[in-house]
Symmetry: C2
């Protein structure tokens, strides 16, 4: 399976609208360093699964028929705002697998259009072809699932958005000896963030789970700046995600 990070930013992204700091100005002129809303594309066995739908140009990136399902981690706007337009398409329904959340976002549930929302149950693994997917509850301000993907002895855990991990999820991931952990890391070390990991919290999770590789995503403006100066301080097994970053497992 191949996972491509399509977006690695928080809701504000990089560059941040209205910010005139040196880094934002640089990114504005070098958009290959921008950070779009956190999202990813998982490709496995000829199928393509979009993980979160905060990108604003889903219709252009993924013509009808090119996505097999969309997996939503939670219904904050930066993870689903691209669905508002997509739903008014025509033709085949697109399954949208998501955590149980009665409110969703805006009127998505009231007017789903071509989207077919299907609530998942935590820990209740299911298969997409030979790909095993396990929804794992995370710690966030809205019902949120991370997803553990397992395929031919390889495993990727995509854990966005969260602050820490529930003990049972930690235990499960330790047992699995996962290959790649992709994890919400929004703030610089020692900067408290009520609903997201700061870098210290991510490194602690990395130490606990000991995946072969940890990749940070959902990177906020201040952490982006911090990482730009301090990347060399990270452990070898911890990578800074960027839009377009690819993982082969």
């Amino acid at each position: 399976m191949r996972l491509t990070l399509l977006g690695t930013g928080d809701a504000g992204g990089m560059p941040r609208y209205g910010c005139d700091c040196d880094r934002c100005e640089y990114v504005r002129n070098n958009m290959q360093h921008c950070r779009r809303p956190a999202s990813a594309l998982l490709e496995c066995d000829g199928k393509r699964y979009l993980i979160d739908a905060g990108l604003m140009d889903i219709a252009e990136r993924f013509p009808a028929g090119s996505l097999d399902s969309i997996l939503v981690t939670h219904f904050h706007a930066d993870h689903v705002q691209g669905l508002f337009h997509l739903r008014w398409g025509t033709g085949d329904k697109i399954p949208v697998l998501c955590p149980p959340d009665t409110s969703g976002c805006g009127d998505l549930f009231k007017h789903p259009g071509i989207l077919e929302f299907r609530s998942l149950k935590k820990y209740d693994a299911f298969y997409l072809g030979d790909l095993k997917v396990t929804p794992l509850p995370l710690i966030h301000s809205k019902p949120t699932f991370g997803y553990l993907f397992e395929y031919k002895q390889q495993s990727i855990a995509y854990m966005v958005d969260t602050k820490g991990l529930p003990p049972k999820v930690e235990e499960l991931l330790i047992d699995k000896e996962i290959d790649t952990l992709i994890i919400d890391t929004s703030s610089p070390p020692n900067v408290e963030n009520r609903n997201h990991n700061n870098l210290g919290e991510t490194l602690a999770i990395h130490e606990t789970l000991m995946p072969k590789k940890t990749v940070m995503t959902h990177i906020g403006h201040d952490l982006d700046l911090w990482l730009n100066d301090n990347a060399s301080k990270l452990p070898d097994e911890v990578d800074i995600g960027h839009d377009g970053y690819r993982i082969y497992n």
Copy 2:
């Protein structure tokens, strides 16, 4: 004042996602004919006002400081979805003038970020510099305002989304002898649409108000197809809006 239609489509737009009709295929290959979410830019006395925020790339089109206010007609997603990202900017607040609607869309009111929502009152005219703006109630499935803009004996009425007009609004616009009427026209003639005008209803409004020019916007897929074959049947004073259409009044 100069008004530019930035988007002239309904929520699904043109081309419609997943549609393989000849017209959609043509538009997909000739994107100058696409229809983005209905929205406009009003420029007057060196100030710039965005009317509705359904465009997905507001941050790129309008760098910080380049918009003086945003006027929202109503809180359906195709009119406000671009605000979900924009709000997380930094720096000066952006006034967002809107109809009173306790629910808004998603969590925009809960987390407004740099947006400063200000509820307007129907018929309660106000000034933006020398530009007089009158919010006019429309007939739609959510609290919705059209806006009458008056500047130096010139007038533009932007009436989106609506099915028909309340009698009092009709009277007011007849009295004003407006120059340009921009009006929601979503469906072909004789196709009933619960919340939007079809072409027949728009032509009836045009006959009643007798503006110098009527411009159709919020054009749906089926009307786009109909107009492509039948444009010559329209009265001379009725124009088909397109993305980029400009009105000088």
